[in-house]
Amino acid sequence: MTLELRNVIKRVGADTHIHETRVRFAETGFNILLGTTLAGKTTLLELMAGLTPPSAGEIWFDGKNVTGVPVQKRNVSMVYQQFINYPNLTVYENIASPLRVAGLARAGIDNRVRRIAELLRLTPLLARRPAELSGGQQQRTALARALVKDADLVLLDEPLANLDFKLREELRDELPKLFADRRCTVVFATSDPVEALLLGGHTATIHAGRITQFGPTPEVYRQPADLLTAQIFSHPPINIAPIVKAGDAMVVSDAVRWPAPAALRRLSDGPYVLGIRPHHVSPLRNGHQAAQIEGRVQIAELSGSESVIHFAHGKLSWVSHSPGVHPIEVGGTTRFYVETERCLYFTADGARIGA
């Protein structure tokens, strides 16, 4: 089943919430919508579900134009960030409700509800009401309701965001398994780049109502089309610096320079933008080509097994994210190593060179 947005635009009043978007989602695996809050993820999902009509453009599903089809007539299911269940119904009736509305036979409903409840470990809770469940159980109930009707399109709107840490990890591991043997298109919205990488599949990065890039998740991560995509898809935030190409050298500052990579040799000299992810900047030397940069340490966050160090180099404010706990003195000057072969270069208007 293919889901395709053809030149879809969504305006509300004078504001444009979704700018002209064309994208054809992958049929297998997760399609991740990655973007910050208010980027337009939920609006896009609502458009796909048919909860709100597009102001222009068409939505095609499985080779059919479904633009004007009301949501009830589409075989869609959706799970929200807030744990949405029918508070007046038991867990059993919650899961059964889409099947009841569809008018299935009682025995068939019972069969399917019990199977999906078993899968999501809800069997002992079937007689309870949603208010009597923990957050994780409530969200599993919502997932069960979304899965029970064999929807062609499953939309997950940050389903893990409101769960506490342990439950989030647990459910994140379960999710791909739940969809493994289903024939349906899955769209998963999240604001967490790490979550996108863990779930794999394809990723569309969104910023201010525009999809900046769509492709296989590792590809979008490693080869972002532009600076915006790289910024969206990086946690902690990607380090940015103006950089000048002068002959065969890339110059960040008087003290920080390295040879220009082969791909850039043919470019004209002048100002460019450098992007380097925090985990390629380390107080320890690794990688073959490493440039040195000295920085005054501003913040050092040391968790059990990794160090996040914020440092300033001239006007630049960078972050280093490295494994291991390093004895770093806040306020002191420390030498960091930049893995130059991992550097991303962008033109002044944000397009990645070599993309």
Binding site: L51, Y86, S97
Partner: protein
């Protein structure tokens, strides 16, 4: 200090209940005893006042009339307010906020302002002295209140619940009746209670718009003297009986009202 901590609430309740106690106590006294010496409790205990009310048509019909128009009003108010509150809670339309506030302003004028137009209007279309006349007149202040309270409860329900239901295949009305209404049952309970209460205690419009056939109990009670002189015991008994329905309704919705207060809309 700690040992006396019961004293304040005790005194509070005592002063609060004193007039009610006095009313109930009077209702079991004869009029002569009431008019005579001070007596903290009935010396000559009598049920005559109650018997008179339950057997005399001019008395008990007042309760029936009041109950009829109050119930009719409550049903109309809630049924009309539900879709209105849903619209205010779920949709944005031109002037929605102004309209919502304007609803409340209907409660700002004293009922006396509307007594004359209602009287004239209802007389013209032959609604005068009917139960529906009073029920409709009370809608003037009960529907805005009902919309206001229900909107609060509805807005506390996330919009995503509606969307989830549509995605599950529910049509609007099925969703509204099977899912949404049970979800805001507490709100409907609180709303019904307030409509009932305001309609039950309202005297001026009810009295103006009725003469005999739909005369409310409160109007009967304002008749302090009859051909047989003062009937204070009888009035006290009638007053006691008038408290009963309110107390009864409040007992059933007490938990809901706490919820309503928590939402800040009551």
């Amino acid at each position: 200090m700690k040992r006396l901590s019961w004293l304040v609430p005790f005194l509070y309740v005592l002063f609060l209940l004193l007039p009610i106690y006095w009313l109930v106590s009077m209702s079991f006294k004869t009029t002569n005893e009431i008019l005579g010496a001070f007596s903290p409790w009935p010396r000559t205990f009598t049920f005559d006042n109650y018997i008179k009310i339950f057997t005399d048509r001019t008395w008990y019909s007042g309760y029936i009339n009041s109950l009829i128009y109050t119930t009719v009003n409550t049903v109309i108010s809630v049924v009309v307010a539900l879709p209105a509150a849903y619209a205010f809670s779920r949709y944005r339309f031109v002037g929605d906020k102004h309209l919502f506030f304007w609803l409340l302003t209907n409660r700002m004028a004293p009922a006396a302002v509307f007594a004359l137009p209602f009287f004239q209007l209802y007389s013209a279309i032959e609604l005068f002295d009917t139960h529906i006349a009073v029920a409709l007149a009370h809608c003037l202040f009960n529907i805005p209140l009902a919309v206001w309270i229900l909107e609060g409860f509805m807005s506390a329900v996330p919009r995503q619940l509606d969307e989830t239901a549509y995605i599950d295949g529910y049509r609007f009305w099925r969703f509204f009746l099977r899912i949404f209404l049970p979800t805001i049952a507490a709100g409907v309970g609180v709303t019904a209670f307030f409509c009932f209460m305001f309609s039950w205690v309202e005297l001026l419009l009810a009295k103006t718009l009725t003469s005999v056939a739909a005369k409310p109990i409160a109007a009967t009670m304002t008749r302090t003297a009859s051909s047989s002189g003062y009937e204070l015991g009888l009035l006290a008994a009638a007053g006691t009986l008038t408290i009963v329905p309110g107390a009864f309704v409040i007992y059933f919705v007490r938990n809901y009202i706490a919820k309503g207060f928590a939402l800040g809309r009551v």
